[in-house]
């Protein structure tokens, strides 16, 4: 009754997924700096290792060895809790993402997904709203008015864009008819990607994803020119590292989620007609999935070094009077379309 191999399999899968997530998040910091250098006609970091490939390691060590200062008037417990919650919410999201088709190993079917929740989409949505707490608690516990101001900015931005995100997801669920991420991916074989059914929904979702990850053009919570350093002004050492790193993990996870929901996830066109064995198909699927994710990561970085940031009132106006009505129209149109079919 107690399936020993099942537990071993899941343990290996969990460590692999966490390891790959942290690895890609670490190397997207390097990619960010290298691409920024490319866009600005510089060389970028090239001292640590060949082509600067060891730079993330050096950055991590630097964060680790720096003194973590807790301000005298800060609430010590909450000050540490804030970045930990941010990191936790970022890492928990990879549990429901299907990384590839089933593998056949030693006569067992191994699903490349930690757990296939029947409410996976709601789980992700809950984690998005849970991520607000890390920012709010950390900013408040710093006992600094600039931290508090940018905390209020960050959390009201996240809450506002959650609404439009939720509405665009409801329209997606209307077309797919399921909340399980795996079933959503399996429902888009070949070229039948959901982006073709929900182009407007995808546009709304990607804008909201940028806002939720606090990336340019929505990086108001941490704009140095107005608010010193944002909600993590008082942070230093590894606690600051957690906040900054959580942003890159969130970028990776939201790229994976966008790929799963709108771009077919691990589904690869034309592969079914080649008649390859299942394990080969699965490996191709995983590789293709990661190619799509890396393209989204490139998009995140590309936009950061191309566009200027919004003003705060422009951001709020876009969210409340632009995206939410658009998402409602999209939802109504999808509902009418589904009703007519």
């Amino acid at each position: 009754m107690f399936d020993f191999f099942f537990i071993i399999e899941k343990l290996i899968l969990i460590s692999a997924v966490l390891g790959i997530t942290l690895f890609i998040a670490a190397y997207s910091t390097l990619a960010e700096r290298k691409l920024a250098a490319f866009f600005q006609d510089r060389i970028g970091p090239d001292r640590a290792g060949p082509f600067g490939l060891l730079q993330p390691l050096a950055d991590g060590l630097k964060f680790l060895f720096k003194e973590a200062i807790i301000p005298a008037k800060a609430d010590r417990f909450l000050f540490v809790l804030g970045p930990s919650l941010s990191m936790l919410a970022a890492c928990m999201a990879c549990a429901v993402i299907p990384w590839g088709p089933d593998l056949m190993l030693f006569g067992r079917t191994v699903a490349l997904q930690i757990t296939d929740l029947s409410v996976g989409l709601l789980y992700l949505f809950g984690l998005v709203s849970f991520g607000v707490y890390g920012v709010m608690i950390g900013g408040w516990a710093s006992n600094n008015k600039y931290s508090l101001l940018s905390t209020i900015r960050a959390s009201s931005q996240m809450i506002s864009y959650e609404l439009a995100m939720g509405l665009s997801l409801i329209a997606l669920v209307l077309t797919t008819g399921t909340l399980s991420i795996r079933e959503i991916v399996l429902g888009q074989p070949g070229w039948h990607w959901n982006i073709l059914a929900q182009p407007l929904g995808f546009m709304i979702f990607i804008v909201c994803a940028f806002a939720e990850t606090n990336r340019v053009p929505f990086d108001l919570p941490e704009c140095e020119t107005e608010l010193v350093g944002g909600y993590h002004t008082e942070y230093s050492g590894m606690q600051l590292g957690f906040y900054l790193f959580a942003e890159y993990i969130n970028m990776f996870i939201s790229s994976a989620v966008m790929t799963c929901l709108y771009f077919g996830g691990f589904q690869m066109p034309f592969i079914a007609s080649l008649g390859l064995p299942q394990n080969v198909v699965a490996l191709f699927g995983v590789v293709f999935f990661f190619v799509k994710i890396l393209m989204f990561l490139f998009l995140f970085i590309w936009i950061r070094w191309t566009l200027p940031r919004f003003r705060y009132d422009q951001l709020m106006r876009l969210g409340w009077t632009g995206l939410i009505p658009l998402a409602i129209i999209n939802l109504l149109a999808t509902a009418v379309f589904q009703l007519c079919n």
Binding site: S118, V119, F125, S129, F130, M136
Partner: protein
């Protein structure tokens, strides 16, 4: 296995609920209530109501508690007395709660009829919401709309 989890979630819920009531710092009260809601969500999972658990987290932890945290962070609550001041207030409160528990115990425990704990499907709930309970559902939509208008009217400065 689920027995252990039942006790873990129950102890968590009761301890964090007590912490909500007894903590002097409002921020810690809010955080304790969030912990309490998560342990109640754990109970929902144990009862097989996965969808309900997800909705519970999104509504309570994701929306309602964020509002509370916002309000408490923005108000300077340093000089508010947190507890009632006179000892007989505590006595009266305790007596009222004791009387209520007695009433609950004598009344509820006789008529309590638990359902079979099992996996709860999404479809029957959705169908019930849109057929049997369609009128209350629409009414709650109107309630939401009126609340939005009311909050905007209340929030505007004079």
């Amino acid at each position: 296995m689920s027995d252990i989890f039942f006790w873990v979630f129950s102890v968590m819920a009761v301890v964090s609920a007590l912490s909500v009531v007894l903590n002097r710092n409002p921020i810690y009260s809010v955080l304790s209530l969030i912990v309490c809601f998560f342990s109640i969500a754990g109970h929902y999972v144990l009862m097989g109501a996965l969808f309900l658990c997800a909705v519970h987290i999104v509504v309570y932890a994701g929306a309602i508690m964020v509002l509370f945290l916002f309000v408490i962070m923005l108000m300077n609550l340093k000089d508010v007395p947190e507890f009632v001041s006179k000892w007989w207030h505590f006595g009266a409160a305790g007596a009222a709660v004791a009387a209520m528990v007695f009433g609950l115990a004598t009344h509820l425990f006789q008529s309590y009829n638990p359902r079979v704990i099992g996996d709860m499907q999404l479809k029957p709930i959705a169908q019930a919401l849109f057929t049997t309970y369609a009128v209350p559902f629409e009414l709650s939509a109107i309630l939401f709309l009126s609340a939005v208008i009311g909050v905007v009217a209340l929030g505007k400065s004079e």
